[in-house]
Symmetry: none
Subunit: 428 residues, 2 copies
């Protein structure tokens, strides 16, 4: 089954926004074995939307359109679709009622502009949108399926996964089964991964591997097709096992799982708690850990000790040590980890100090110099890293590395930490 | 002059790669006043490349194609272009010679595959590419200009800026100047903004307003054209002034500026320092503040007091108060702000406590209940908010609101805070 994707919005034709929606949709369809023929983007322009809709009919069996369903005057996808496919626009009383209720629940009156979001082309099948005011809809026209979805990424993703893909899978004639698994890797470069996996690639036509850099992670996507779901699942499992072995513990998660989720599971199942003392990451480690629902069960507190005074006062780091070793040093990282562990009485204390830049670097400690320390019942371990990139990238990769330390601690891999060139140092 | 952009590559139609090239080109052309009509993406498929090239002729005066000029078998853009526009492929001896030299300089022999990169459709005007082996080329066909460029981002950007845009600017007849400004708004919904600005919209053909939701912000983009750069700049300034007035202090930044940058400027110019006590935002406020280079000048520390014990121990919040009012309450938010201000001796203390969900809500305090407090030399102020969304969204909008409080404090707008339905409460 062939799919064409049309994204609508002046913010796309003007280049203000990178079209991640199109890539997301293309990836979701490709994964399920649909062939994506064309991706087309037009601005909020009636003539061009109509033209794109008509032409797509020649290219594909299903046409997925996103964007232009909002309440403002420039949102004209529904009316353009009505025109292109020769239908009248009709007010859907049920949708209108639901919209009014939605606003009433928030104790505000519905702006007049939102009434427009209850206007659909004749015979539209409504796709309710629990996440926003723009309902999706389906039109069937000359044997083709047109699906219209909002452009807000989270609403689009939800409706695509929950409604559109299941619908198209049901309509599809061919009975081939597809499956994929994304393995998330941290600590190897893309080419190092490709090198380690080269023997299992190229494969036969039912299997493919793709390498997707997702800074600071690298993802390996396995896609498999087969005659039954069992075949597909078995193939995926076999390949996953091989790849995990070849990548020596650097695969930290699969598919939707995130590093902080995995670390949360490990803390919970080990009945352990964690406290964090951050400097150069400025709160990012705590922010990521607390993105997980229920993290209050194992995450006690973080101290973002940006000033030296904060390091002394809250984390009880000796002033003499800050003066002699410098705030960015292994002993200070260790004292931060130990200090926050002690005041919080947590199982683990994580300490991070470094130079995120662009200022503050020196010849001895250039921008990107970072010390990470972990204090645990087994003692305190620390390590120096030299990261590269701008301020944002250094914060991100430092936070990722530090959170990964907790994972590796529980898997007894921490002593094997050996990412970038570094010297190791232990106390206790 | 109308421009259509065509990007070619299986990695794009499969969604493995987000098409940042298309966005870059669209932005570069829009900035220079070209109208981008369509963005089309096709895989490395001869029939579809030909189809896209032929159709683009109806849409635009200039067609910019990127991708598919590499040495491997799947790179077929040049041969597809020759077919689509009815030309023969001819080996360009000069390009072939340059390619051979390029390899010779690196003391390697040119692989046979690279010979292909010297094959161009008849009458192609070559665009030399100093950064790679794929030369670009121009074809003129029925009054239209077709430009073919490599897909490697660095090479594409270079050739676009150095060759293609100057060429098209020379060919363009009209002498019109363009400019734009993006105003960033927080605290009004998209429809509330549109409502307030409806009198200045629709405008004449030289001006347009676009509304771009960027959760939790809303952006208003003013685009203006005119006969001189002065005209354009004057128009932009006049419109910006009117819009800022109509939006009553809710425009917090323009163009590339971010909220945390603006807040950083205000803290610095007022010689003030800031400390933060976060609960439900889990470090996000500190993370955002420290994304700004040099933030250590005004940001002292943050305490992410996730557990009640952390609130008592570090922020000196009375246990009785936590028991009587609850951790999510106005008096606790206020004590957090006062506590962190006091221990850090900062000018300002920000305190945030709330329920990010999905668990932890009650009838009295549902998920999304948030208290924000600011302690300053003028006293302490706090407010209850009811936010909507999932855990991530509640963290984001809470952090944004709290950081915006600092901005409004310096602009003496804080007493006028009145975002969502809420009750106000003050101490001191």
């Amino acid at each position: 089954m062939k799919v064409e994707i049309i994204t609508v919005g002046n913010e796309l034709t003007s280049g203000e926004v990178v079209d991640t929606n199109a890539a997301f949709m293309a990836s979701a369809f490709t994964e399920k074995g649909f062939e994506v023929t064309y991706l087309t983007t037009v601005g909020d322009n009636e003539g061009r939307i109509e033209d794109a809709l008509r032409r797509a009919q020649e290219h594909a069996d299903a046409i997925i359109v996103s964007g232009g369903l909002g309440p403002t005057a420039d949102d004209i996808t529904a009316s353009s679709a009505a025109k292109a496919l020769g239908r009248r626009l009709i007010m859907n009383q049920e949708v209108l009622h639901t919209l009014r209720q939605r606003f009433a629940q928030r104790e505000t009156e519905m702006p007049l502009a939102n009434e427009k979001q209850a206007l659909f082309p004749q015979q539209a099948e409504i796709i309710p949108n629990p996440l926003g005011t723009a309902s999706g809809f389906i039109l069937r026209h000359k044997g083709k399926i047109y699906a219209f979805l909002p452009g807000v990424p989270r609403e689009l993703i939800f409706l695509l996964k929950e409604s559109i893909i299941p619908l198209l899978e049901k309509e599809r004639q061919e009975k081939v089964f597809y499956g994929s698994r994304t393995l998330k890797v941290f600590g190897f470069t893309e080419s190092a991964i490709a090198d380690r996996l080269k023997e299992i690639n190229p494969q036969d036509r039912t299997t493919s591997l793709a390498y997707l850099p997702r800074f600071p992670e690298n993802h390996v996507k396995i896609a498999v097709s087969g005659k039954s779901l069992q075949d597909v699942e078995k193939n995926l499992q076999d390949l996953e096992k091989i790849i995990r072995e070849k990548l020596e513990g650097r695969v930290f998660a699969a598919d939707q799982e995130t590093l902080e989720e995995i670390v949360g599971h490990l803390l919970r199942s080990n009945r352990a708690t964690l406290a964090v003392a951050e400097s150069c990451t400025g709160g990012l480690i705590a922010h990521r850990l607390t993105n997980i629902a229920g993290s209050s069960d194992y995450f006690d507190r973080a101290v973002v000790a940006y000033s030296n005074r904060a390091k002394v006062e809250i984390l009880q780091i000796p002033e003499e040590l800050l003066a002699s070793a410098g705030a960015v040093s292994a002993p200070v990282a260790e004292k931060m980890a130990e200090g926050v562990r002690q005041i919080s009485q947590s199982t683990l204390g994580l300490g991070v100090t470094g130079i995120a830049g662009p200022g503050g670097g020196s010849e001895e400690k250039p921008v990107g110099t970072v010390f990470i320390a972990l204090s645990s019942p087994k003692g305190t371990i620390s390590k120096k890293y030299q990261f590269w990139g701008d301020r944002e990238q250094i914060k991100i990769i430092t936070a990722h590395t530090a959170i990964d330390w907790v994972r590796r601690y529980f898997l007894n891999q921490l002593s094997a930490v050996s990412n970038p060139p570094s010297r190791k140092r232990r106390t206790n």
